[in-house]
Amino acid sequence: MSPPLLLGVEEEGQSNVSLMASSPSDCISQNVSGLQERNYLGLSDCSSVDSSAASSLPVDNKNKLNLKATELRLGLPGSESPEREPDLSLLSSGKLDEKPLFPLLPSKDGICPGSQKNVVSGNKRGFSDTMDRFSEVKSSVYTEKNWMFSVGPDSESPQSVGQGKFPGNSGMNPMLRPTGAQQAIMKEMAPNALERSRPAANGTHNKASASNNNMSAPAAKAQVVGWPPIRSFRKNSLATTSKNNDEVDGKPGPGALFIKVSMDGAPYLRKVDLRTYTNYGELSSALEKMFSCFTIGQCGSHEAPGREMLSESKLKDLLHGSEYVLTYEDKDGDWMLVGDVPWEMFIDSCKRLKIMKGSDAIGLVELTRSVMKLSRMDKCSLADTKFGRNCNKKPNTIIMVYDHATAV
């Protein structure tokens, strides 16, 4: 048996992880018979051809990883979204397989192992978009099921992007075997290779998240049953307790801002973490996906990314076109239309979200417009048409409308 390799490296001076990565396997494979023939698929492993080159492999691989990673990290099919927001992945994939998994999600609300808060990088987002978000998010983001891809790891907080494994005995694309040269090839051809290889990779894990089985599914991680391995009693208990505690002290932790989302006619509420979005567009898209089974109309369509104020015309579209309207209850307990204030202000003041039927919300829309225009003393042009009784031109009737709106 070889001398203690792992701990003993220290005696040589610096313990260098990458050295250790390569040397023990060298030594071990020499000591243990019959193992040298195989390629272990690990970075540190000897290739079957040339064991002396093995020690250089990890370093090479690492460099290659760093160089290549940022180029190809994003926009690839199958990039995955964090566990808690599986719906967001639908942004990119429009996958139908996720729907049967919806029933799981309510039980996961409020239960958020660390990585779940992370921002989704759907594979349809532009590279720069996602990079921006990536630098915002401190904790790890899992976007690829391929460990060869990683963002430059040392610049900021450790972020791991690519993980995955390559089942050795599946009928897989041999290019996926991670020897150095092949990694380069892999990366060049990454988009296609991943597309092709994923079915093979995923086929071998028929249970490893239902969404993995579908090539276009980026939300693989989200759907895995039984991960993280916490007893369901504990999960449920923490969920209940944090719900109660939110009501008790009303203050969510700095990292997460959970807001209940209800929808008229939906049988259950959802909870979203507002901090995972940076603008209204994302929020409404996410909600759209979340509640899509209840067929929201064009709720999210009126928001372009970055735009924060509803325009007159958009309001009109809203009123006349969509079935549902997104509203929120602010700190003062008033129900407001989402989209009127800058995003940051919205996050600060939003206590609850509600997806209302358009008809119910017309009063709100009118209210909002009236409030916005109060200083200018404009008339509500639409008030004439429908809500003469609710919204006449006198300023003090605004208060009545307020009451009506909050009662909705």
Binding site: L6, C112, G164, G168, N169, P229, N245, V248
Partner: protein, 569 residues
């Protein structure tokens, strides 16, 4: 062969208490076997399907305490369908029919019905102790039966159970004559409880040492209970919501100071986060603290509390304590032996490798670890291994599946390898993060005492599993999910499985054909294939991959209570 009369040998055997030792003793010769079996009082059955109740009773007629485990460990994580099995009724029924004077029943991951509890309560006059961990299937009606009928009940301990709360008055069912309670734990119950009845019960239980309340017990009741039971050693607080200026709170502070015997504290299921200063006087004597169900206590408050707990040996906590908090633990709790850090779900508060390294450096007596973290590095694990080679249980769960070392982007093979190499007494290991076959090579080589190994999303090929099966001679339980191990690994050493309690493989590469081959070769194993509801019927295609396979050694053949979706090959 005996130089002494049987009675003397039996008396000697009285001092042999561990089951392992008694099993060894029983193998020496026929006469020792007989003496041992007639005198054994406490029996542990690790897998309720490995043996039948009748045979257990037949061999150990003097049985007083029975411990049973039912479902495999991964059932805790919803990997097992609800009706898979693990019913305890047949056991209780068989025991009731026999002349066994059962006094203690401890169950883990089993299905217990109200009828079963009723039968239990009526069948054994001297029944004293019921401990249920992670069980299911009963309501408070069953508890009422236990309370009402077990006249000498000492211990009723319910841990992590979802009980259907019928809002019954089960606590009132303890008769006035019941004064023998030593331990009462109903912290997992969600419903209301009759507070007056509870107070009276505690008042007439002078031997009460352990009391764990559920969230329905408010602060003022807690204070009254503590007044009645200042001798408590183990306290589980239900609701700790109060107004700091209220009389109830002031009274409680005073009462807590008087409870000098409390060594173990848990609960805080409902808590006002601002101030736990009332607890501080209790902290200095605490050896066990479980705040893992108290997400309402923020990190800073936790840290303040910990600073008082110099004698702590066991700490269960949420990761909201953060790396900084773990640093405080490392500085303060030099007697720490067991640490469990659970994920609270709050993003920023999660712990990393820093916390673990600090703990390993600061707590020399630590030997049992369960650690959920955001990330881990090889360097950290190697440092931990160097700092501390005492680990007997090392369970690491990196929340991000298959995450490599974020600094080097390497798999975590080396880190875990260092752990198994350094910790020669390691008995239980759970892996996570990105792992290749290499880590299994290390485990096979170094983890000589390993008894239980949990693998998820790891490895590259059959080799990984083979290293483990070949190398770990003492392996008893192996559970694998979502790893690329297939038929070759499964079938290379079929005899191994009879030396183990069980093997679980789900979402791996084993096929139906492979499992069938195994079942044919090893008739004393039950090889169960568990089909999900939405999967197809049992097709006869040998090449079809098996979703879930659970195999275990057994002396009684395929179980008769297997539901339709379980196919014993």
């Amino acid at each position: 062969m005996n130089y002494f009369p049987d009675e003397v040998i039996e008396h000697v055997f009285d001092f042999v208490t561990s089951q392992k030792d008694r099993n060894a003793v029983s193998l020496v010769c026929k006469s020792w076997y007989k003496i041992e079996r007639l005198s054994r009082q406490s029996v542990f059955i690790g897998n309720c399907y490995a043996i039948s109740p009748e045979r257990v009773i037949g061999r150990f007629p003097g049985l007083k305490s029975l411990t049973l485990k039912g479902k495999p460990h991964f059932a805790d994580f919803n990997l097992l369908p609800y009706d898979w099995g693990g019913w305890v009724y047949p056991w209780v029924e068989a025991l009731a029919k026999s002349r066994v004077g059962l006094e203690e029943l401890r169950l883990k991951r089993m299905v217990v019905s109200d009828d079963c509890l009723e039968l239990l309560s009526r069948s054994f006059v001297n029944f004293k102790s019921l401990v249920l961990v992670s069980c299911e299937g009963f309501t408070t009606d069953g508890l009422a039966a236990i309370a009402a009928n077990c006249r000498y009940l000492r211990e009723l301990d319910l841990q992590e159970i979802e009980v259907d709360d019928n809002r019954g008055q089960w606590i009132s069912c303890f008769p006035d004559s019941c004064t023998s309670l030593v331990s009462l734990n109903f912290s997992c119950l969600k419903g209301e409880i009759n507070l007056t009845a509870l107070e009276r019960l505690v008042a007439r239980s002078p031997n009460l040492k352990s009391l764990r309340l559920n969230r329905a017990v408010p602060l003022d009741t807690l204070q009254k209970l503590l007044m009645r039971a200042p001798q408590l050693v183990d306290l589980g607080i239900g609701s700790f919501v109060y107004d700091p200026s209220s009389e109830a709170y002031i009274k409680l502070k005073a009462t807590l100071v008087k409870c000098k015997s409390i060594r173990s504290l848990s609960g805080f299921l409902e808590v006002v986060p601002c101030c736990l200063s009332a607890i501080h006087p209790v902290c200095q004597n605490l050896t066990s603290l479980n705040l893992s169900y108290a997400p309402g206590i923020h990190g800073n408050e936790l840290i303040k509390l910990i600073r008082f707990c110099r004698k702590l040996e066991r700490l269960w906590i949420l990761d909201s304590i953060g790396d900084r908090g773990l640093g405080v633990v490392a500085f303060t709790c030099k007697e720490l032996q067991e640490l469990r850090v659970f994920p609270s779900g709050v993003d920023n508060a999660a712990v990393t490798e820093e916390g673990l390294v600090a703990i390993s450096a600061g707590c020399p007596k630590l030997h049992s670890l369960l650690y959920f973290c955001q990330q881990m590095t090889n360097a950290a694990l190697i440092t931990v291994a160097k700092n501390n080679s005492n680990f007997t249980r090392f369970r690491l769960c990196i929340l991000d599946r298959e995450k490599p070392d974020p600094v080097t982007m390497q798999p975590l093979d080396e880190g875990f390898g260092a752990i198994v190499q350094s910790c020669k007494r390691l008995r239980r290991l759970s892996l996570s993060g990105l792992l290749t076959d290499q880590v299994f090579l290390y485990i096979g080589m170094y983890a000589e005492q390993l008894e239980m190994l949990s693998i998820a999303f790891a490895g590259n090929s059959d080799k990984g599993m083979l290293y483990v099966l070949n190398g770990c001679k003492k392996l008893r339980k192996l559970e694998i999910r979502d790893s690329p191990f297939g038929n070759t690994a499964l079938l290379t050493d079929v005899g191994k499985y009879e030396t183990m309690r069980s093997l679980w493989m789900s979402s791996c590469e084993v096929t139906l054909g492979g499992c069938q081959t195994l079942a044919k070769k090893m008739p004393r194993l039950n090889v169960e294939i568990i089909n999900e509801d939405d999967q197809m019927e049992f097709s006869l295609d040998d090449r079809q991959k098996v979703g879930k396979m659970y195999l275990y050694r057994t002396l009684v053949g395929p179980r008769k209570d297997a539901p339709d979706f379980v196919w014993t090959l």
